[in-house]
Subunit: 128 residues, 2 copies
DNA sequence: GCCGAAACTTACCAAAAGGTATGTACTTGT
DNA sequence: ACAAGTACATACCTTTTGGTAAGTTTCGGC
């Protein structure tokens, strides 16, 4: 009997200025967020692994981005009280469900790189 | 006979620091790029329409983002030499093929907003 | 002859993002 | 005793981003 509109957070709409989805999009737009999620989709990893595998990321940005992904429920941090301290990061179920769209996007970019480059050259040619 | 690796632009890899795909990702990470592509996926539109429909965008950012999308071959600009000047923007075939992954991402965000909010509350509760 | 609309362009500025460098706590190796 | 590794935290500083506001051009309407 409850109408589909009976909760306050209903009409999520990225096109509306104040919509909370904007904040989520902004977070995903951070320089390393998509990359981290993409990598973690392949399985959990520890800090040093991630640093080596995500080319160019700094230690600070790695931690900072992980923290933010954690705060938003995409990533879980798991610290093992071992003797060289070991910390592993993994996608939560929520993060895992996001990794689909994201890796698709990444793959699209990788696969269409030459078309993009061609379009750029064509554009630059026209405006020359 | 040509091996799959015989062109220079082959091994596109978002995880490599210098890869051109990083630049593309960076462009898509601009504040309004995804939103514009998402909107244009629904059909061509003129400047003033876009300004009204993309909540919160300024004139400057609208034009700037459109230009950048144009330079990268995602959007085509079409000016009609009419008497109140009319300019329409539309996705190119390249842009249209990207709109799939992007609108998927947007929809994921919209649909998972409450889960994200819940995860945030849980996180903030734990660290309190 | 001024107003307004469309589509920009330009100048200026504040905030935020992101980079480098260094410090810290704990423990193992030599 | 001291270097080294892990997983951070912190300070500092530069660059980039994005916002406001105003100017420009071309035209038709009043």
């Amino acid at each position: 009997m409850r109408k589909p509109a009976d909760d306050p957070c209903r009409k999520a709409d990225v096109f509306k200025a104040g919509c909370p989805s904007r904040a989520v999009l902004a977070m995903l737009a951070e320089k390393w967020a998509l990359l981290l999620i993409h990598r973690l989709a392949a399985g959990p990893a520890r800090t040093s692994e991630l640093r080596r595998q995500i080319g160019g990321i700094s230690e600070k940005m790695l931690i900072q981005t992980l923290r933010r992904l954690e705060r938003n429920g995409f990533v879980a941090r798991c610290a093992y009280p071992e003797v060289p301290p070991r910390v592993e990061y993994a996608l939560t179920p929520l993060g895992a469900s996001l990794s689909g769209p994201i890796t698709q996007l990444d793959h699209w970019v990788e696969q269409n790189l030459r078309d993009i480059a061609a379009a750029q050259r064509e554009f630059d040619g026209r405006s020359a």
